[in-house]
Symmetry: C2
Subunit: 434 residues, 2 copies
C-alpha cells in the first residue's frame, strides 16, 4: 500500500554518528557522568552579557527591526568587520599584512556548516583530504558522505608531524595522487580530540609545504581554530593563516560557540578571495544567510567589550577544570602500566591512552565504565584506518568542558574502577585486546 | 606562484541567482522602489512581542543558560510539540488523525534548509521533480545544482492543473521515467511567485494521484506552506497533508520567517516517519541543529499567545498592501491590451502578465523600469523551459510585502510609464518581443 522511499546515493553514504548510540544510553542514566559530549560549561554561559546586549537591541525599535529582518548570505557587515579585526588582534598582526578585507569574511551557522560547505564546493568522490590522527569524528563522517578518501597523518606532542606529511606528499607527487589531494585539515589549537597544539615552527613549515606541493592546483589548509580562545594563557600562538603572505592557501575557521554561546550557532571563516564566491553560491542554496538576530547580538557583545571580558573569565574556568582532570588522572592512573595522557594548554579535551586495553564499542571497558557510571568517546571513533587498514583501539577522548571539577574527579575514579574490574576479570585479555 | 583552485563538479553546477545582479543595482539607487525582493514588511516586525519573550528568558538564569547552550539536531522538543499542534489547529483536524507525533517534526534553518536537505537525501543526478509553472526560482537553482531534471506543470486560477499532472504521470508511467520521478513540489498557499492558491478539491485529487502513481517507490509531495499564515481570512484552506490518511506522501514545510521574523531563520517540517532519520543524519553533517536561542524565543512567543496575536495583526497589514497594489494595477494597467494579473487571497506576491512584452533581463522593459525607479522579478526567472524548450517571457512577479501602500502605488505608476515609453519607441517590437 505504501511503497518504500527511494533515497539518494548520498543519503546512503551518510551514516549515523557512531557515538549517538552511547549518548542515548547516557541520557537514560541520570547518575552517569559523561565526559563524552563536547559541550561547553553551562555555568559560565554569558547570561548577563547577553541580557545587556539584548536590552540595547530591543529598546531601539530601528535596531530591533533590523535584527528581526532578513540578513544577507555573507552575514552582517559590522560583525564581519569585527571578526577580521579580532583575528588580527589575536595574531598580533597588522590588518594590512593579511591580504584580506571584510569581504573575505563569511558568517556561517557554526563552524560545522563551514566544514560542510567546503566539502560541497571542493570535493568530488575520490578526492583526498589529509587529517590529523586522531581527528574530529563528525568531520570524518562529513568527508565520508562526500565520498572523500581520508588519509590520516600521525601527531606527536607538537601536533601534526610535518615530516610524515612531507613524506606522504612526496609519495603522492610520485604516484599522481597529488592531483586528487585538495585539503589538509588541521585543528591547531588544543585539538579536538587530543588536546594537542601545533607548535610555532610547524605552523611556518606547514605553509611552506603546501606552497611547495601546489603543482597543478592550489593545496588548501583548513585551520579549524574552534578552541583557540579557550587557551589558558591570554596570548596563544599566532594562527597558521598569519604566516602566509597574502591569502591563498589557508581557510581560517572560527566560531562563537566555544568562547561565547553555542545556542547562538554562529561561526565564521576568513577565506582566500577566490573561494568566497563559490562558498556564497553554495550557502545561498542552503539558507541564504545564517541567523541574523544572533549575529546582531554577538556584534553588540563585541562592540561593548562584554565578549572580551567573558573570554578572559572563561580561561580561568577551563583551566581549573583541566587542572582537576589532570590531577585525577595522575592520582588514579599514575600507577597504571601503559597509561599516558596529553597535557592541554587550553580547550576542553584530554586524550588518554591505556596501552593494550580495548576502549572501543566492542571492548569490555566501555560497557564496564557505563556500569560504573561514566562515559568517554572511544578513541577509534576519532581514527580512520591507516593505509594498511590498522585502527588504533586503546585510546579515549575525555571532555572536561561540561562537568564541574569534583564530578570530573569522580568520573576518573569510576574509569579506574572499570579498568581494574576488567583487568581482574581477564588480566591477559585486557592487555592483548588491541 | 598561486595555482588555481580545484572546485568540485557540484560547485560548477551551482550558479549565482539570476536576480542577484539586479538586486545589487537596486542597492546603488536609493530612490528606487523595489518590488523584487521577497522580504517581509519591516514596520510590523514583532519587536514588542520579542522583547517581552526575551525578558522572560533572560531574567531566569536556568532558562537563559538552556537557550544559550547547544540544542539538538532535531530541534527544541517544546517547539516541535507546539508546531505540530499549531498545524493541526490550522487544519481543524484532531492530533490523533495525523499518524504523526512530535518525533516526526524537525526544526530547520528556515524552510530553505529543508528544501536543500531534501534535495540531498532524495535526488541523484537525472532524477525528476515536478514543479508548478511558474515556481520559486531559488528552489529551481537548488534542484539544478543537484543535477535534477525539473519538469514544470502549468497552473490556472485554481493552482496546479491536476489534469495536466495526471497526463504527465501517465506518460512517465509508459516511458519508464516514473522510476526517476521522486517529488512534486507545490507552494499551495498564495504561491511564490504567482499568488495563486491550490483549490480544495485539487488538494484531495493531488493526494489520490500520488498514491495511484506510487508504483515501485513512494511519490512524495513537498507542500511548501511558507505563506499560509499570511492569508487575509483567519481561516484558510486545510493543508494537502491533512487530506492523507496517515503520514506517507506529504512533507509539510512551514516557517516562522513570514508570520514572525525572518531574522530568527527558523522553519520546520512535518515528515513521513521513514524520512526523519535520513533527514537528521544529513542535518547532523550540516550543523547538528539549528540556532537554539531563536527556537527558545519563538517557543515562548507561541506559549504566551504573542505569536497568534501578531499573526492576526499581520493579516490586516498584508491585506491593505495587496488592496493598494491591486487598485494601482487596475488604475494603471486596466486599459493596457494584454495586461492581466492574479488576485491573491494572502501572501505577498502578484503575478502580472503583459502579453507580448519582453519583461526579461535582455528586454527593454526591465532597464526602462529601472530608469524610472522601480524593479520587479522577470517572470522568466520563475520558469524552467518546458519540454519543447519554450520559456515564457512576458510576465513578472511583484512583491507587495516590503513597501508601504503609497510606494506600491508609485511603483506601479513608474512601471506604467516604462511600459508606455517602450511601446512608444517601437510599438510593433514591444508586442512581438516574446
Amino acid at each position: 500500500m505504501h511503497p518504500p522511499l527511494a533515497l539518494s546515493a548520498k543519503a546512503a553514504r551518510t551514516t549515523e554518528q557512531p557515538i549517538s548510540y552511547f549518548m542515548k544510553q547516557a541520557l537514560e542514566n541520570p547518575d552517569l557522568i559523561s565526559l563524552a559530549a563536547g559541550l561547553v560549561d553551562r555555568e559560565s554561559l554569558p547570561v548577563a552579557e547577553a541580557r545587556e546586549a539584548l536590552g540595547g537591541i530591543m529598546n531601539q525599535p530601528d535596531i530591533a527591526k533590523a535584527a528581526l529582518q532578513y540578513g544577507t548570505t555573507e552575514g552582517l557587515p559590522a560583525l564581519r568587520e569585527r571578526v577580521w579585526h579580532h583575528v588580527a588582534r589575536l595574531d598580533g598582526k597588522s590588518l594590512a599584512a593579511y591580504g584580506l578585507d571584510t569581504s573575505d569574511v563569511v558568517i556561517t551557522t557554526g563552524s560545522q556548516q563551514l566544514l560542510y560547505l567546503l566539502n560541497e564546493i571542493l570535493f568530488d568522490p575520490g578526492d583526498i583530504v589529509v587529517t590529523e590522527a586522531p581527528s574530529y569524528f563528525v568531520h570524518h563522517s562529513v568527508l565520508t558522505s562526500h565520498g572523500v578518501r581520508v588519509v590520516p597523518v600521525p601527531m606527536d606532542e607538537q601536533g601534526l608531524r610535518i615530516d610524515a606529511l612531507e613524506a606522504l606528499l612526496e609519495r603522492f607527487a610520485k604516484s599522481g595522487e597529488l592531483k586528487r589531494l585538495k585539503l589538509i585539515y588541521n585543528c591547531d589549537y588544543y585539538q579536538n580530540p587530543s588536546g594537542l597544539t601545533l607548535s610555532l615552527s610547524r605552523r611556518r613549515e606547514l605553509i611552506e609545504l603546501v606552497k611547495r606541493f601546489s603543482h597543478e592546483h592550489r593545496l588548501l589548509i583548513l585551520e579549524d581554530a574552534a578552541y583557540r580562545e579557550l587557551g589558558f594563557e591570554p596570548r596563544g600562538l599566532p594562527s597558521i593563516k598569519s604566516f602566509e603572505e597574502g591569502s591563498y592557501h589557508v581557510i581560517y575557521a572560527g566560531t562563537f560557540s566555544k568562547p561565547c554561546a553555542p545556542g547562538l550557532k554562529t561561526g565564521y571563516a576568513l577565506l582566500p578571495r577566490d573561494l568566497v564566491a563559490p562558498l556564497l553560491r553554495a550557502k545561498g542554496g542552503h539558507d541564504f544567510g545564517s541567523n541574523n538576530f544572533s549575529q546582531c547580538l554577538i556584534e553588540r557583545m563585541m562592540a561593548d567589550g562584554a565578549y572580551d571580558r567573558h573570554v578572559a573569565e572563561l580561561r580561568g574556568v577551563y583551566r581549573a577544570k583541566c587542572d582537576a582532570i589532570l590531577t585525577a588522572l595522575e592520582e588514579e592512573f599514575g600507577d597504571w602500566p601503559g597509561a599516558s595522557w596529553t597535557r592541554p594548554e587550553g580547550g576542553m579535551f584530554v586524550w588518554l591512552t591505556l596501552a593494550g586495553v580495548d576502549t572501543g564499542p566492542n571492548g569490555k571497558l566501555l560497557s564496564t565504565a557505563l556500569d560504573e557510571g561514566m562515559l568517554y568517546v572511544p578513541g577509534e571513533f576519532c581514527h580512520m584506518p591507516d593505509e594498511a587498514g590498522f585502527l588504533r583501539r586503546d585510546e579515549m577522548r575525555l571532555c572536561y568542558g561540561v562537568e564541574p571539577p569534583e564530578r570530573l574527579r569522580e568520573a576518573v575514579r569510576r574509569l579506574r574502577r572499570a579498568a581494574d574490574s576488567i583487568a581482574r576479570a581477564s588480566p591477559k585479555k585486557a592487555s592483548l585486546a588491541v
